[in-house]
Point group: C2
Chain length 455, copies 2
Amino acid sequence: MSEAALKYVQDQKETSLNELIEFLKIPSISTLPENKDDILSAANWLMDHLKAIGVENVQLIETAGHPSVYADWLHAEGQPTLLVYGHYDVQPVDPIELWDSAPFEPTLNGEDLVARGSSDDKGQIFAHVKATEALLKADGKLPINIKFLIEGEEEIGSQNLEPALEANKDLLQADVCVISDSNILTPDQPSIVYGLRGIIYTEIEVSGPSLDLHSGRYGGGVHNPLQAMCEIIAKLHDEDGRITIPGFYDKVRTISDAEKAEMTTLNSDETFLAETGAPATWGEEGYSTLERVGARATLEIHGIRGGFVGEGGKTVIPASVLAKVSMRLAPYQPAKEIAQMYKEYVESIAPDTVNVKVNILQTADPVLTERDHPSIKAAEIAYEKSFGKAPVFMLDGGSIPVVEAFQRLFGLPVVLMGFGLPDDRLHSPNEKFHLPNFYNGISCSIQFLDQLAKN
Amino acid sequence: MSEAALKYVQDQKETSLNELIEFLKIPSISTLPENKDDILSAANWLMDHLKAIGVENVQLIETAGHPSVYADWLHAEGQPTLLVYGHYDVQPVDPIELWDSAPFEPTLNGEDLVARGSSDDKGQIFAHVKATEALLKADGKLPINIKFLIEGEEEIGSQNLEPALEANKDLLQADVCVISDSNILTPDQPSIVYGLRGIIYTEIEVSGPSLDLHSGRYGGGVHNPLQAMCEIIAKLHDEDGRITIPGFYDKVRTISDAEKAEMTTLNSDETFLAETGAPATWGEEGYSTLERVGARATLEIHGIRGGFVGEGGKTVIPASVLAKVSMRLAPYQPAKEIAQMYKEYVESIAPDTVNVKVNILQTADPVLTERDHPSIKAAEIAYEKSFGKAPVFMLDGGSIPVVEAFQRLFGLPVVLMGFGLPDDRLHSPNEKFHLPNFYNGISCSIQFLDQLAKN
C-alpha cells in the first residue's frame, strides 16, 4: 500500500479543492443549447487536466451529441483494468432565485462546497482523478491499469452513449467498472449500493373535443379530458398504495429477511420525514419506507400539461392534455415487458368518451450486483480504510441506465462507489458536496486500486 | 312603428359595417397591461360615436379598473327607461398562430366578419347603438327613454362593476335591462335565454413535501401531491357523472316536462358532437345533453399547475400542485352556500398524507327570468318581426354575473337578447359575427323599443 500517495493527498488538499472549484466554474449544462460551448470547455479542461497528471491516450470520443472524454494508463502488466465512469455535464440551475450563492461560483459553507455539479458528478469523478494523480506523483505508477470514460450527456439520459460504447468496445474493454455518482449514508457511515431500480418514462395523452371548449356552453356535455386523465391516474394505485397493473409485481425480486433486517438499521421514518418535509409517509402496504423506495417498484406522476394554469380564472375545457408518468422498477422486472403491460392497462381503463394514447419515452432495466463479488469485497475494504468504518449495503431507488449497459455490453461487474450524501440537493438549488467525503473519496479510490491489484 | 328607422338601417348597412370595423380595429384586451391605452381608445371612440349619433350625457364612469361608458336619451316623457348593457373589452388573441387573419384587422368571410370581439361583444352592443341612431335620425326621437352602460372589464370578471353600479344607482335607474351578449339558435331561428347558470370558480392546492423531490430517491415513500390531486378530482364525480358533494343537487330547480319537450326540439346530440368534435357525449345520467349543459349543475377541471410538463422526461415529485376547478350552478342553487359545501367536501376527502387548501375565487348566483314578463313578450315580438320567426326559449349554460347584480341591485327584469351564433368561436381564434344577425339585430332593437313603449 502506497503511504506516499495517501500523504500526497493530505498535502495537496488545498490545491485539489482549487482545481475542483475551477472545474465547477464551467457551466456545462447539457440540456441547454446556449451552453454547448461550455460543455466543450468542460471536456477540454478535463482533457488538459488528465494530461497534466500523467494519464495517457487522452481523447474525445465523439457521439451523436456531446462527446465523452477518454484517457488511460495501461502499464501495470498482468494486473486487471478498471474502467472509471462518470460525467462532466450538469443539471440546469432553475429556479435560480432559490440559490443562496451563484451556482457557478463555488462557495464554501462550513465543510460543504456549494455549486451546481459539485456532488453530481464533478466532485465525485474528480476524486478518482486526484487518486490517480497521487499514485502517479508519489509512486510513478498505478497498482492496476485504469481507463477513464467521462461523458457529457448523463443529465439528458445518456441517449447517445450506447452506440459510442459499441463503437469503442476494444478501447473500453476492462475487468471491472466503478461509478461514483451516488451517495453514502452519512459522512461517518459509508455504504455500498448493490441494486438500482430500473425506469420507464411515459406520457399519457387524453384528447376529447377537437378544440378547447367554453365550460359554460359545453360543461356537462362532454367528458373533460383533464377529468378523464385524473380518473385514469387515480386508478393506477389501489387504496393500499399498490400499483394496479395486472401482473406488475409478478417478477419482482423478494426481499430476504436478512435484507429486511439490515434495512431497518439504515434509516428511520423520522429521518425520512425530516428530509422530505412531508406530513406523513405513504406507499405500498406491507413494506417499510426504505423497502418501498429502494426495493419495491413505484409509479409517479410528474406533471399534467393542458388547460389553463395562469392567475385568476379561465373556464376552458381543454381539447387535450398530457401527463408525464414514470415507473421505477425493482430488480428482476423486465422494463420493456412492464412498459407493454402498463400501456395495455392504461388503454383498457380508458373510457370511450375520450381518446387515449400512451407513449413510452425510455426504458431501463433494474440492476443488481452480487454482494460477494471480489470487486465489491475490494470496495468494502477500501471504504473501511478510508472512511474508518465498514460500509453497509443498500438498495438505491434511483436509476443509472448506463450501469445496465456496461453489464450487458461488456459483461462488466459494476461497483457503485458513492461519495455523495442524501442531502446533497442534486438537481435542486444549493447543490453541495461534503468536502470530507471528497478527501476520503480520493483515499478510497487509492485503496480500491490497491485492493484490486493481484498480489 | 317607425318604418323610416327600419329603412334607414337598410340604407346605412355599408356605413354601419365600416363603423363596426373601425371599432373592432382597437385591440381593447382588458386582461393585458400593455393594452391599457387601447382600452381607453375604445372607450373614447365609443363616447365620440355616441355623441355623434345624438345621445346625451355621454361620460366615463370610473371604476377601480377600466372605466365604463355611459350615455342616455331621456326625452320620452311618461315612457319606460331601458338600460342597455354591454362591454367594449375583448379577450386576448392567443394562440395567435391559429388565426387565419389578423385578429384586429376585421376580415369578411362570406357573410361573416372575422375579428376578435366581433360577436363578443362589440358587434352585439353596436346593434343597439345603430338602432338608437336610426330612430333619432329618422324620427328625431326614441319611443322610450334609453341608457347605455358599456363596460371595459367583462372579460376579466366585471370585478369592479358592482361598486360602480352602487355608486351610480340614481344615474342607472331604469325599468328594464337588455343585454346582448349571447347567441340565438341559428340565423333563422331566434331564441330567448330565460336562464343562465351561476358560477363558482375555485382553486385546490395540494402540498406534501417541503421541496420538489427526486422520484428515484423518494418515489414510493411520500404521497405525490399530483397523484393525491388526481385522486381527489376523480372523487368529485361518481360513475354516473353525478357530482358527489353531499347536498349539492338539493335545491336545483326541476325541469318541467314542457321544458324537457321543448329542449328536444332545440338541438340534437349529432349537432352537439359535430360542434365539439368530441368522440361521445358524456355527463349526468338521466338527462339529455341539452338539459345537462343548460339546466343542470356541472363541475369542470380547467388545469393543474405544478411539476414538470416540458419536453422529454424529468422525474420530479412536485412539492405542491394547484388545480383550477369551477362549477356551473343551476337555477335556485345558492352560490355561496354551494361553495361552502364544496370546500368542506374536498377537505373531507383529502387524505392526511398531504395538505389540502381550497380557495374560492368567485361566486355568482344563477339567473332565471319569468318567461311571461311583459318585457320578454316585447322581445318575443321584436325577434319575430326582425328575424321573421318567433323565438324559442332556451336555458343557457354560461354565466353572466352582472345579470344577477342588475336583478339584485336595481330590481330590474333582464332581457337576454342575443345576436350571436353558437359557432362564433368566442374566446377562440377566428372569432366571427354573422352580419345578417347584425342587421337583423339593429331592426330587432328598434322593434324592441317600439314594443316597450306604452301606447
